[in-house]
Subunit: 327 residues, 2 copies
């Protein structure tokens, strides 16, 4: 699907504003990593969602630009700190900050990015500032909680599916919801619409994340952009795996657990055997049902928003064009 | 000096509010370390300064309590992350968070503390919220910058004295200034007074930090609360050392540098010899002159504040009663 000229123009605005973000000259060790991570690219999805959401309610999106950028800065702050916690060597194909510089730099530069995000939010007009802060604070805390749940769940085969869904909701989806919601608040939407668009974004965010889990196993290598079955090889707790455990009989459950805890195992054989169990129990169908449930829920909330169908079409088209790997 | 009943009562209010801060039940791994570090005690100096400052301009300090607590939460966030960077095993005699839990916990719990600080600030009334955020954001970024300068300067004998003074200003003193300033803003002080009390606090903060450097070398062991000469043993860059280098002739300068870079050296002999050079060049006098300069500057700003002398006396008395180790 072709990207609309409006979206291309919003992206340019976002890139220009990011490139012109001013940071003190010194200390270099604090501010260079920030420029570095913000310069690694990405699709700038969150700020784009904010501006599209403002446009849905108000033709003038200028008032929302600083907040849109705050969301991108916040998102990159979480990436900088998450990369430490995940021991990740690469981010968007480039060295992560804690590798290129060091641990202390990645901690401290991340901290000051979070302050910078608030600094950008504080530029909002007085009439929406309290609401903006309330939404942002709530979501920022949830994102940290989601990361903590993710750490807690690592390697735990007994995670309840609902807890897993809550984890991805907090870690990923609420920030998508808030990106829309903040744009709506700044655009002057009525309270109900700001809540509806939050729920729209949140449910889309969960659907995307589940789709990502599915693509990792069932996507074509070109689409996945990394080795198919990577999550299986790493014994990652995903919706697929937890749902598979749930749907398996005792024999299959035991075997799945063995495969995911085996210390020495041939990677290819592991993928093939897990995949065969997944296929036997029809995991793809279960997943797609769940994903569609979230999509449907999202669009129910979108339906409730009190603007014309035509003006909603750009956001809806854009959301369909997105895949989680772009976020 | 006896602490006034007003101060005792403000401290109780602070302790009660801190103890009643509400955090989600889960994830425990995220919120227990926050309750832990906030429960380690401390004199709660920053929130106390905020409340005293509000009282200076307004008999009702209730509106300032949340902001006072935000400053304490922020301060403890910086301690949690600094302890990682400094590899510190102990904080107030108890295990640091990254030791008692782990690195990831200390990073993530710290992050959510910073969010919590903003959450408390956001409860300010709309008429002072933008000013409160502006002051806080500016100071929070400076505190991070100060920590980065401190890391950058570690082991660097060529640090200019002015750069060192800027480092302690940013790392420690501006938060003391902001603690006063935020209280004044919330208390409804005129703009000029809010700036004057910030400068008062900032200059007091620098004086305290310099006094701390001096006490480490010239204090009695009971007063210092740790081994006298600890900074010398650790070859820490302090105002004393940098000023001593500045005042030394070539021979003494070379010897000081040798003593501070020697890999294997008897600790006691090192302290004795450095102390002898310090005494030869009269470092104590130089330091006291500098400290008095900052005290005098601070009280010049206090003089300019447009309230009666009598109402200023409680803050002045309290500040005299403080030593940096209490902060």
């Amino acid at each position: 699907m072709a990207i609309s000229s409006n979206i291309l123009s919003l992206r340019n605005t976002i890139e220009d504003t990011l490139a012109n973000l001013s940071f003190p000259q010194d200390p270099k060790g604090l501010y260079e990593p920030i420029k570095y991570i913000l310069g690694l690219g990405g699709k700038r999805t969150r700020p784009l969602l904010t501006l599209l959401s403002t446009q849905l309610f108000n033709s003038n999106y200028n008032d929302a630009i600083k907040t849109a950028i705050a969301l991108e800065v916040f998102h990159n702050f979480t990436l900088m700190h998450d990369d430490i916690m995940d021991n990740a060597p690469l981010r968007r194909g480039a060295e992560t900050v804690h590798v290129r510089w060091d641990l202390n730099t990645a901690i401290l530069s991340g901290d000051v990015m979070l302050v910078k995000a608030y600094d950008l939010l504080a530029e909002n007009k007085i009439d929406c500032l309290p609401d903006v802060l309330k939404v942002f604070n709530d979501v920022a805390a949830k994102v940290c909680e989601g990361q903590q749940f993710d750490i807690d769940f690592s390697g735990d085969m007994n995670v309840a599916i609902d807890d897993y869904l809550k984890m991805i909701e907090f870690k990923t989806a609420v920030l998508i919801g808030a990106s829309f919601q903040l744009g709506a608040i700044i655009g002057g939407a009525i309270k109900e619409d700001t809540r509806n668009i939050y729920e729209f974004g949140k449910n889309i965010g969960i659907a995307f994340q589940l789709q990502d889990d599915v693509l990792d196993v069932y996507g074509s290598p070109e689409k996945v952009g990394k080795q198919v079955g990577g999550d299986i090889i790493e014994s990652k707790m995903t919706f697929l795996f937890l749902k598979a455990l749930d749907l398996s009989d005792k024999t299959k459950k035991t075997r799945l657990t063995e495969l995911f805890t085996a210390k020495e195992i041939d990677e290819d054989k592991k993928v093939v055997e897990v995949l065969s169990i997944y296929n036997d129990i029809g995991i793809l169908k279960s997943c797609n049902e769940k994903i569609n449930m979230y999509y449907n829920k999202a669009f129910e909330y979108m339906d409730r928003i009190s603007v014309s169908k035509e003006s909603k079409s750009e956001i809806i088209d854009f959301v369909y064009s997105l895949k989680i790997r772009d976020m």
